[in-house]
């Protein structure tokens, strides 16, 4: 950022300049900051001249020819300007003092940049360095816990997995709750683009190291410029640009390992524990486990004498990650470029999981004329993702099978090969699957933008940006007979998918200052977007294993299916910013969007916002205060939209139907000509502050976000032929408080110790569901409650007398007395919990001393539940089945009268339903505190590196997710936004080390 500013400083000088004059001395030297670090891109100017200047290179060095009696003015944004008389010297080294007042950087906002003090809405931003400092492979993961009010939930620990991002809670039921991502001014595709693999995030193509900064627009005022898609917030990403000056290269390499390790004490039973448990369960059912006639209940102790396996151990390994990258940037006063190329290879902790990525970027700009500039930003990523079945309780899934297969079941044949065996695990062997099957996505992801900016006269910019984003995904699954001793053997499924999105964005911006005090920016613009996707699937239930391709000679068994979808959008918008003397700020936005997703009569929506702020610290009475450096009040209100629904829902549709030998048409969906946007009305009040020479910085925001016209399926009379129609009914509200703080405890030339953190409280409440009291069955949307509410049977515990499961049948309203029953069918059902955290946040501390830096980052969520009902139903089943290994926690069961606080007495084959899915027994408090990242790094002293021409050399080692404080009896407390998963790839822990060299 700093370098960009100095670039602009130079441009300003250039514009003013004509020619240099002579009779000079040659002066050189190095410009450093208070920490002794080189200041690159500082401007050295002869005082009184607009033509004699130089810039420092990457090592802080400069050369300038000036009169020997002249004075040098050294300036760089972020530092106090220094003036030094030349005094005939030929070497002048300068140490610049940090200028905390101008450290207030500009930040990227919708369609432009503004000084941070001019922001009137609620925004949070992260610098590229912060993202790059976390050695994660995808940018969305790096944001976790860093921004107040931004919740990042992972559902999987797999390389390339998606994250679920929620800004200020869930605001919708049927439309999207995900924010809009805008990269370099163009909205991009996000979410899961996987076909065969379990998850493949569209964002993996973006290299975190290419990012200059990220701004999150949270309230209506900040996001309104993106109108129809801004209801869930906007994440603005700016990638790095080339810098004027000598070419600079950056080389990075990193290597890491990762492994599975739950922190709550969770584990599976050992072989002997499981055998004893199952023998107890069988005996409790009145069957003799030592009698060979007991069939599947024959469980002699001698089972422990044969070869025993630890299936999880067989299916997992130490995962590895490696990444290599080289980037370069440079330019002159006409052309600038930034380019990067990277290669990444991750091997997952499960055999068969691998992720490889090749990625390249070029960001270049060129000044065609003094008032005409063009640029291109192009990113290309190719990923190869190999996978194994996961995210379900399918027996070929290594995590599921690893938890369930009995330890005495053979996983290998006599030669020691892993093979499917019809007697074991339904014929599936995940290790054999990993070694033999194919299951992969190969994805090409192109994203390119070309822009042209014309400044026909001063203060007016006309800019056009035109972008194309494409995904080509080629996928294949092939189940080999080696891995599948069942009907799945020889199944072949292949897919081809294409996604294209074309965007054009055109703006005219006018900026001016009148009378020295009145600052104005006015912008009008237009955008258009076209999206389409198509896919073709070919499926053969049984192919020749020697030639595992679709049989082109005989196509009678090959099934082909296709899917298409398309969407368009057209938008017009205007923004006006005004401030008086940098004290009173006003902004207004208006945007009109048309979307193909909505009804013929209601495609267009109008969105707007107004906001204002008062920068109290710029008033005369505070302007010179030492202790109060920044004090700013903000208020905003506006309306944003949400069109995050699948296409064609407004159409009256016909589908096909087969009757009497004829394929006919039948109505399949009712037309809704007035289907339209969900509307988010957000009010925001905020306070930004900086105290004690800016050592304590922070902001507080309070908001209320109401969603009206919720897109819901509305009940209608069946006399219409249908019972529901998709329409805009209902409303919900999110309200909350966010706090962000940073404090520099120690700040001097050798040492910096800072702490920071953020915490956000949010509450979601459904106001109206179009007349219904609730929607859903087990996970419900209920009027007066949050977005997700678990509706569960009330499990009481174990009967201390006989070890039976007891249920609460009813609770007396007056006395609170519970009536208990041992009959599951008589248990009461109630609203038991919600997966929506009340509090989210993170905190960090950084300690720097000379070249060493130690940073630690913690993330937390609190006040919510998860429902581990899928695994518990089978793996803590109280004896219902003894065919699967069990959680070690199931060892704590009723053994004698008086035992309480334990599992019911296990009885083989019981039908008590004590392990049913929808019971509150599986509900757990999911609050956690995660040690997300601890990084120790060392920058070699530049005095040393300069000798070999290296500007900077950094070594680091990071521990990621080293420990998570939580009480959830499972792998990890993070279970996605619904709090329910099945067979997910658990979060892993990792240690990564690396080196970065700049020259």
């Amino acid at each position: 950022m700093r370098k960009i500013k100095s670039f602009f400083a130079v441009v300003a000088l250039l514009l003013a300049g004509t020619a240099a004059f002579a009779q000079n001395v040659q002066v050189n030297g190095i410009i450093k900051d208070a920490n002794g670090e080189a200041v690159a891109g500082a401007a050295i100017q002869l005082k009184g001249s607009t033509t004699t200047y130089a810039m420092t290179d990457a090592l802080g060095g400069y050369k300038i020819s000036v009169p020997s009696n002249g004075t040098l003015v050294v300036s760089c944004l972020g530092y106090k300007t220094a003036e030094i008389a030349v005094g005939g010297r030929q070497v002048i080294n300068v140490t610049l003092e940090t200028d905390s007042t101008v450290l207030e950087e500009t930040i990227v906002v919708a369609y432009g940049t503004v000084k941070r003090e001019a922001v009137t809405g609620s925004v949070s931003s992260v610098k590229g360095e912060t993202i790059a400092a976390t050695p994660v492979t995808s940018v969305d993961k790096a944001l976790a816990g860093k921004l107040a009010g931004v919740s990042i939930s992972a559902t999987s620990g797999q390389p390339g997995a998606i994250t679920q991002i929620r800004i200020r809670g869930n605001g919708s039921i049927n439309a999207s709750n995900a924010p809009l991502w805008v990269i370099d001014g163009i909205p991009v595709l996000t979410g899961d683009v996987s076909f065969i693999s379990n998850q493949n995030s569209a964002l993996t193509g973006l290299n975190p190291n290419d990012i200059e900064n990220i701004t999150v627009l949270k309230d209506a005022a900040a996001a309104a410029a993106y109108g129809s898609r801004a209801a869930n917030g906007v994440i603005l990403v700016t990638t790095k640009s080339g810098k004027e000056g000598k070419s600079q290269f950056n080389v990075r390499a990193k290597f890491g390992v990762n492994w599975l390790q739950p922190d709550s004490g969770f584990r599976m039973m050992t072989a002997s524990e499981f055998l004893n448990w199952s023998r107890d369960a069988i005996s409790n059912a009145g069957i003799d486990p030592d009698n060979p006639a007991s069939g599947s209940y024959y469980r002699p102790l001698s089972l422990l004498n044969g070869k025993l396996y630890n299936p999880l151990h067989e299916f997992t390994r130490l995962g590895t990650t490696q990444e290599y990258e080289v980037s370069a940037n440079g330019g002159n006063n006409k052309a600038k470029y930034f380019s990067s190329f990277s290669y990444q290879k991750d091997q997952g902790v499960f055999y068969g999981v691998e992720f490889q990525k090749l990625q390249g970027r070029i960001n270049a700009s060129y000044k065609l004329l003094s008032n005409l500039e063009t640029g291109v930003r192009f990113n290309l990523a190719y990923t190869e993702q190999s996978d194994v079945p996961m995210q379900s309780l399918y027996s070929a899934s290594p995590i599921w099978a690893g938890q369930t297969i009995l330890p005495w079941m053979p996983l290998q044949d006599e030669e020691g090969n892993y093979v499917g065996n019809s007697a074991v695990n339904s014929g599936e062997n995940p290790r054999a699957t990993a070694e033999n099957d194919e299951k992969w996505d190969h994805t090409f992801h192109l994203n390119g933008t070309v822009n042209l900016k014309w400044t026909p006269f001063k203060n007016l910019d006309i800019e056009t940006r035109n972008s194309m984003e494409s995904f080509f995904v080629n996928s294949r699954t092939w189940y080999t007979p080696t891995a599948h001793d069942n009907v799945y053997a020889n199944q072949l499924d292949t897919y081809d998918r294409q996604i294209h999105q074309l965007t054009t964005s055109n703006t005219i911006t006018y900026t001016n200052t009148f009378g020295g005090y009145h600052n104005l920016r006015a912008l009008v613009g237009q955008e258009a977007m076209r999206y389409n996707s198509s896919s073709t699937e070919a499926y053969s239930p049984e192919v020749d294993p020697n030639m595992p391709y679709h049989n082109t000679a005989d196509q009678t068994t090959t099934e082909i299916s296709q899917a298409f979808s398309a969407e368009t959008m057209l938008s017009f918008f205007a923004i006006a910013d005004y401030n008086y003397d940098n004290r009173y700020f006003f902004q207004a936005n208006f945007r009109r969007d048309g979307s193909s997703l909505f009804g013929a009569d209601n495609k267009w929506g109008n969105f707007w916002s107004v906001s204002a702020s008062w920068n109290i610290s710029n008033e005369d009475f505070l302007r010179n205060s030492r202790n109060i450096n920044l004090l700013k009040l903000r208020a905003s209100y506006g309306v944003n939209g949400n069109n995050g629904i699948s296409p064609y829902q407004a159409y009256g549709l016909y589908g096909t139907t087969i009757y009497n030998g004829i394929t006919g048409y039948l109505p399949s969906q009712l037309e809704n000509r007035v289907l339209s946007w969900e509307r988010n009305l957000t009010a925001n009040f905020g306070l930004d502050f900086g105290f004690f020479n800016n050592r304590l910085n922070g902001s507080i925001d309070v908001y209320n976000r109401r969603t009206n016209d919720l897109l819901l399926t509305k009940q209608i009379p069946q006399t219409s032929g249908f019972s529901t129609i998709f329409s805009n009914v209902g409303s919900m509200v999110n309200g909350g408080v966010e706090l962000q703080l940073e404090y520099n405890i120690i700040q001097n030339s050798n040492m910096l110790w800072s702490v920071g953190g953020n915490v956000a409280y949010n509450k979601t409440q459904i106001i109206d569901l179009g007349g219904d009291e609730y929607i859903g069955t087990d996970v419900r949307q209920v009027v007066g409650m949050g977005r997700y509410t678990y509706y569960l049977y009330d499990y009481y515990g174990v009967n201390p007398y006989n070890g039976e499961a007891l249920w609460v049948a009813s609770i007396d309203e007056k006395t609170g007395e519970k009536t208990l029953t041992n009959d599951y069918n008589k248990a009461r059902r109630y609203y038991a919990g919600s997966p929506e955290p009340k509090f989210i946040g993170g905190f960090n501390t950084t300690f720097q001393w000379k070249g060493f830096s130690l940073a630690a980052f913690f993330e937390f969520k609190a006040g919510h539940q998860v429902l581990i009902w899928n695994e518990n139903h089978y793996l803590q089943n109280d004896g219902q089945s003894v065919a699967r290994n069990q959680f070690a926690s199931a060892l704590n069961y009723w053994k004698q009268p008086g035992d309480t606080g334990c599992n019911p007495r296990p009885v083989a084959g019981n039908t008590s339903n004590s392990n049913d899915w929808t019971i509150d027994r599986w509900l757990e408090n999911a609050s956690y505190l995660r040690v997300k990242d601890i990084t120790l790094s060392y920058n070699l002293p530049q005095t040393l590196t300069r000798k070999v021409g290296i500007a900077n050399c950094r070594f680091y080692v990071s521990g990621l997710n080293l420990y998570c404080f939580n009480d959830v009896n499972f792998w990890d407390p993070e279970q996605g936004v619904t709090g329910i998963t099945a067979g997910q790839y658990p979060m892993t822990k990792s240690v990564v080390g690396g080196v970065e060299i700049t020259f």
Partner: protein, 486 residues
């Protein structure tokens, strides 16, 4: 500056002008209704598809037959005695125990077919019949589609009014509740219940119009089973039945006569009927069938074990068995006795009318709706009640008996009633025949605690309208039937 502003305004105007086209993205794999209904081919396919849901288990695929048979002396839940046939299904139907929250599923299904038919009829009306005429499409081609859709609309409303209204009586028809008669399917509408008189009037109007516009030789092209499509005789047979229900004897007799004298159908012989052979063919040729629901495992609707086949077979669920009240009606040599047979253990009785075509493991059976012997019986009943024509009740009843190995019934209302009970059992007639002729339902061979009689005038002769309708239809004239609470 001026120049730029003009250019900008021109550009904006151009963009706004094309926005309507730009912002229209129609689906590819399913069709928008506007597009579907804009061509003759679309109309034709939509008409063909409109038959499809009639085969649903909610209608002729199971419930419409079984709900009504199990509520009479024809049905028996043997599962109460023999555990094998106890899946819990059709318990309330057997007990005639309906509530607004658990009632016949016909409501949504019939109005769905009505909406499919209305879409075609309304499109022809809105776009004009001429807009579909081309070198390869004649006006008559379009009229034939209209006839099919008018028939489907009338037919659906007829089953609705039989199910959800009290029996027709000419004395009260002007004030008794019929059902909403929907000619334009509209998601915003909250339609009232029509009077019984109007409901029958609209049904007859639609059928008469269908009769007047259809090509007398029209049979839907491409149909595997030509008896499962609307023809002139199907419309006329339906008119005979509707006139019978509304006690318009002369018209009932005349329309039944038209169908009989068309010569297109022949009476089944005892050889055809033995062990229900003629009921279990895939595609009938010759014989009595005028209109039936084609059923096979490859259809979009009506497949699965809850089909009428699965419910009445000892090889599947078998909840719906046959009572000896029915089998006791047959004389010794009456071939119709062979249509009912005990399971291999000799325990429970089942009907063979839906025993499957023997085409596959998960089998299906066509469901006959209109057939020739019903026409003879209608003509006979009409004649007994005063209809005049070139026919007589005695001779018609004899025609039936002669083809069944039975003694002819006397030419009285009771005689017709008795013959109908034997001839049309398990084809969804008895319950409605009792209702329209003002007789109580009585049964003696029952299993479990179920009513042995439903007296004349009892509220249970009309089933409740689904409760959910009242939460979304607030029309003052949309009311629940008496006896079912609010």
């Amino acid at each position: 500056m001026k120049k730029y502003i003009i250019i900008a305004i021109a550009a904006l105007a151009a963009l706004t002008a094309c926005d309507k086209e730009f912002l229209t993205e129609a689906p590819k794999l399913s069709q928008s209704d506007v597009l579907t209904l804009s061509t003759f081919q679309g109309l034709d396919m939509s008409t063909a598809g409109a038959y499809s849901p009639m085969g649903s288990t909610n209608w002729y695929g199971a419930h419409f037959i079984l709900d009504n048979e199990m509520a009479t002396g024809n049905g028996k839940r043997w599962g109460i005695i023999f555990d094998d046939y106890e899946s819990g299904r059709y318990t309330d139907q057997y007990a005639v125990n309906y509530t607004p929250n658990s009632t016949s599923p016909l409501w949504g299904q019939a109005y769905y077919v009505i909406s499919a038919a209305n879409n075609v009829l309304n499109a022809i009306e809105d776009n004009g019949i001429d807009s579909y005429i081309s070198t390869s499409v004649s006006k008559q081609d379009i009229e034939n589609l209209r006839a099919e859709c008018l028939f489907l609309r009338a037919f659906s409303h007829f089953d609705l009014v039989r199910t959800y209204s009290m029996p027709y009586s000419s004395a009260t028809a002007a004030t008794a509740w019929g059902v909403p008669y929907i000619k334009v399917s509209d998601s915003e509408a909250q339609p009232p219940r029509e009077t019984m008189e109007n409901t029958y009037k609209y049904i007859i109007d639609d059928l008469l119009e269908a009769e007047s516009v259809i090509d007398p030789d029209y049979v839907r092209a491409g149909a595997k089973d030509s008896r499962s499509t609307v023809t002139l005789e199907v419309i006329q047979a339906m008119l005979a039945r509707v006139y019978l229900y509304s006690q318009q004897w002369q018209k009932a007799g005349d329309y039944a006569d038209k169908v009989i004298t068309s010569g297109k159908y022949t009476m089944w012989t005892p050889a055809d009927l033995k062990n229900a052979a003629c009921y279990r063919v895939d595609v009938p040729t010759g014989g009595e069938v005028i209109f039936e629901i084609y059923n096979n495992t490859s259809q979009s609707y009506g497949t699965g074990n809850e089909n009428v086949w699965g419910m009445t077979s000892y090889e599947a669920y078998g909840d719906c068995g046959v009572s000896t009240d029915l089998t006791n009606l047959f004389e010794e040599n009456d071939v119709r006795a062979t249509l009912y047979s005990p399971d291999p253990d000799g325990n429970a009785l089942f009907t063979l009318k839906y025993f499957g075509k023997g085409l596959g493991a998960l089998d299906a059976n066509n469901v006959i709706i209109l057939r020739l012997s019903e026409m003879y019986l209608i003509r006979a009943e009409a004649a007994i009640n005063g209809a005049k024509g070139d026919y007589s009740a005695t001779s018609d009843l004899k025609t039936i008996a002669d083809n069944r190995g039975a003694t002819a019934q006397p030419a009285t209302q009771t005689g017709v009633n008795d013959e109908r009970a034997k001839e049309l059992a398990w084809e969804a007639h008895l319950w409605f025949d009792l209702a329209r002729t003002g007789r109580p339902m009585t049964r003696t061979d029952i299993a479990g605690n179920v009513p042995t009689t439903i007296p004349v005038g009892d509220y249970r002769w009309a089933k409740p309208i689904p409760n959910r309708e009242f939460t979304v239809n607030h029309n003052d004239n949309f009311v629940q039937n008496d006896g079912y609470g609010e």
